[in-house]
Symmetry: none
């Protein structure tokens, strides 16, 4: 499919990458209702691993079925669907070629004691991604955790192998652990830092959380104040995070976090759009609603990214 | 052997898998007295590793002999027999081709201090399974243990290799360790979570324990209560665990735990059957009884799964 | 992109393949103006290797430039573009993700003496295909050549590696060599045999030449006559070749051969369509015409496959 | 499934093999209507490669479809179905686990000149067999061909790899080539020699042709006459070939050759049975008949091997 | 060093290549007196292998010393120096980093009978090139030789490895062998074909010989005449060869052949320059002259490429 000028400009930023990686990025950018706009809405369904099945799916029991999410991503005209190995395999044949998939290659769970540290298990490989026809692999890092160095090294090795085989890498960069406070996890200086680390690790797509105007690190706070960096509005904070992502040379999508009111979801999307972000990665806010409501909400979200709202 | 419609429907759920994996699943589903019903009774004998020989076999000394268990599984018309490497090797030639075997690829033991953490040793390989003609490999994970990440990564790698060579994976998903209380090990929220993790790791067959109506995790408890999830009866709890296993897209067998009264065993089986579970994996309750009693009990169990009781 | 029912039915025939292979087949079937119809028009440009540059491109000198062909395939709304390594590399970045590409992994040349035998050089690898983001690899075999056994063994090994990594294989099955006469190269019994061999070697897409009603092999001739196999019309011959391709379970595209009159090209396409073939692979007849004429001709060809002519 | 005493006695002869190999032999011996008898009827469909599709399938056009043959082998209650890679793949998922399959790993074709020598192309691997869930690999050798040494070395390497992974090897031992006359190809001394070579190469199942009372080799002829070896009847010749197969320690099945009258097929089977052979491998005589006739013929053949006719 | 616009435009043509390959191309294009012009003069010294030492060096005995050639390339301000392994190693330390080197990875010799075929020995590896700090590897192919398929396969594999490690490939494409006449070796249709084959094999720099207006191949001759392709002058022939090199998307340098008069060397260079070629690769005409004469001649050659003559 002929790529738009906007998409080509984005691909040009991935200048160190081979045509296979760019082709898969193009596949995601040219898919669904946002194709060609440079904006993305991605459906991630890894909460079953992280929070357990009932917390994830009981509100909308159809969502226990892996096929439900594939169909949702297709019917809503999204750009991609992300999930762990088992979840993807359970629908990979039925939906082969119909929606770009992102194989989430590591996963957290809620059944770990504090002493175990903040970490995730690597549960899939690049060969799994090829076999399942995935358009990318996904990987979470926890900047701020004492396990962060292990996680950085794991994704560095996986990314190298994946990129050589034409598979881009999406990094979920989620600050948490011994070195950040609870407020710090969503502080703007930390969010920007998380985007920067992901970019430096070679992420092709960066996923971070929307942030607050809190400033966590003392040394950083001084600079933000001295330089008068605008972090007052969500739009300004998104803009600042895009700077941290190589001045916009990397695609950044923002996550919605816990289920919340619809208007709040739309306000977030407008801030992402106006701040120059590339889109949303929105899981629980999708699949914990009844299917019709979810489709309506995703439809409106897409409209916002198209600038129509 | 011509597969029944029921078995074909089950195999269709394994859509990401190659014909080798499906063929071995079919072999187990089409074996024994329950062939074609979609139900399974599996005999596992790994207690010698976990509890020592006397605790496992002294009550019925014939059971010290590995041939005893092969013969039991065959004579009782079971679907498969699972054991560690040495146990399988000691009868593999005599019983070659006569009963599908599951090579238990990791094993716990009782000779570890608390500080060693909850973990198991990997004691067999996929090539061992091929050489011994096994229909599957088996692997235990301990969600809740601080060693869980290691265990998840071990089984992910083994499973990838096994599936590529046509060998399915059975995951024993047994919550224990630092993050779960004693009651929590059999709590319904934890059991469902254990099933979900195994499914996400790519298990072809999931083995979990029957659960109680206890709810272990605070966040989960809120959801179970808010959504009114029925966990009052064992049947309801089995049904909920099947939801957690990709809405029934994965085979789940339930374990009987410590030796108990016969009636209790039968009640469990009825609950599994009525809740839509696929069957029982029943070790100590089998081999710690005299052979005739064990055969009678297994016979009745099979009858229950056939709906005849 | 949601696949049509027609495409899903085709994919179902590739039941031994993983979702990666099916996804790439889907990508080609859902591309361009014929997307969703189950029909394909593919542009192959490997004549520079086989016949030299002037014979291939002098009639339309723009075609010396590799970008020309990518652009042609995109602008004409074709399903895929096939070429040798160097040709693909020279445009792989500019056109990344915009048209499915087929890496032609072996190539013939006209600078070989008769004693060298009919053979091709393997000039690219599966890893090249992944790196360049290709949707398939292509490979020529020469049934009838004394080198055929080598060629069959080469493609068997390449195909196994490619399929494991989610890459389908297109086999150009072109009878020539010591065991077939000049007339035999396009005889119907030989064409059907060529399709059968490609299918048995595991080709996902088979490319053969349109055939004549000549019968080459004595033993075959007896059977064609005894069974009254209809080979009188091109449509009947296409239908017979589809039988030879596992009764239509494999995609078969037909090649146009040397440049010829437009009407002849269209008549060929109608015969392919009416005989149940999947489409055309049309090189010289495309790029040896001026761009406008070529686009008009491909446009009409697509219309024919859509049933509109 | 509990093996019969007869089957166990046969398995005991494979004393150098691991339980995986024996398990797969058992699977074939315990399948279908002849299960447990130590007799086998195998359906091979590799004629499409060797003779082309029309000569193979035009007499019964349903047979162009790979599913047809799987279904035939299952419905007729045969022991196994053998075919080349593409043929097996095209039905491997639909029929997974329902009939033991033999992956024919090399294939001949009729499009080779005399100067190319008698040889076959290796077109599949042991990993293919595992992935497709096959119970064995098959391989043809041509004792008497100047390419025989290459073929012996190829199968030796493949067999070693297969046996290590629990996959038995079936050798089609078909004398032809520079060192044997046309009559010699079916001479009894040559047939016995072919069985012996296959056994020495480590075949688990040997497939040879029924022979005539012709004696091809001068040195052999002297011995046959001096020792008064009885080769007068087909039964006697089968008995002699079983001697050549390690005095009956290896399973030997006999091929039917070109399509012929039904009575002739039955007479052959009675000779095989009475001479101590293990059964028939019968392709063209099966699938070139209408399905009903083929089922009736196979039914009668099975009855003969059961001793009922 | 900042690359010129001209050089950047050339590098842009290598769009399928990684930054390592482009960086090494840039290194050569930005070296010496022609840096930044897009033109190159390369010194190759592989005649010792091909013709023996006395034929190569006796006319100017200083040239027996490997250091002599390094020094010459540096002093004359050339772009690169190409030689076989031993020759490069003997000066690699002294001149490390001072002149880009090209490791000639295969070599011909004059000590082969006609029956041995036209071929070269592979005598160095990509790892050798990395270890010696080379800017490229070089490789000769003989289109027209019955060994050509082997040579194409060798360079395909070497090139893939080299490019993955950031090393570009220079292909010496020299027609000779069974399929071309003596006149054909320098015929313009063959020269253009040789350039095309090298480009299709993925050469980053193509080295061909200047050609005559002879047309070797009957089929080609027809096209050259019908299309009125201008091959009358050397300039026109160079221009045609550049078309064959992907319409100028690949760097092409031309070789001078046997030692000849200075004016002839200069005329050649002017034709290369005016026809759009990228430069000269000039061995014997350099080192078989006394050093002062050689420096003067190379100086003048550089001036011609700068357009100053």
């Amino acid at each position: 499919m002929k790529a738009t000028r906007t998409v080509k400009r984005i691909l040009d930023n991935y200048e160190g990458d081979n045509p296979g990686v760019k082709g898969n990025l193009c596949r995601m950018l040219m898919e669904g209702r946002l194709r060609g706009t440079g904006k993305m809405v991605i459906l991630p369904v890894d909460q079953g691993f992280e929070h357990g099945p009932a917390r994830s799916f009981a509100a909308n029991p159809e969502a226990y079925d892996p096929h439900y999410h594939y169909q949702m991503a297709i019917d809503a005209g999204l750009n991609a669907y992300a999930a762990p190995l088992g979840m993807l395999e359970a629908g990979a044949d039925t939906f082969a070629g119909q929606i770009p998939t992102i194989l989430k290659a590591n996963s957290a769970n809620s059944l770990m004691s504090d002493t175990a540290g903040k970490n995730q298990a690597v549960t899939a490989s690049v060969d799994d991604a090829l076999r399942l026809g995935c358009a990318a692999i996904g990987f979470t890092i926890y900047p701020g955790s004492d396990m962060a160095i292990d996680m950085f090294e794991e994704i560095s090795a996986l990314r190298e192998e994946a990129a050589a085989k034409g598979i881009p890498t999406v990094i979920w960069s989620y600050p948490r652990g011994e070195a950040v406070s609870k407020d710090g996890e969503t502080a703007i200086d930390i969010a920007a830092y998380a985007a920067q680390i992901a970019a430096l690790l070679g992420a092709h797509i960066i996923k971070i959380k929307l942030s607050t105007d809190h400033l966590e690190l003392g040394e950083a706070k001084k600079v933000y104040e001295a330089q008068g960096i605008d972090v007052a509005s969500q739009t300004a904070r998104v803009r600042h995070c895009m700077q941290a992502a190589f001045n916009g040379r990397r695609i950044v999508v923002f996550s919605g976090g816990a289920k919340k009111g619809e208007n709040s979801v739309y306000d977030d999307a407008r801030a992402i759009r106006d701040g120059g972000g590339n889109g949303s990665i929105i899981g629980r806010n999708t699949f914990q609603r009844p299917r019709d409501e979810a489709l309506a909400m995703l439809g409106k979200l897409v409209d916002i990214y198209k600038g129509a709202d």
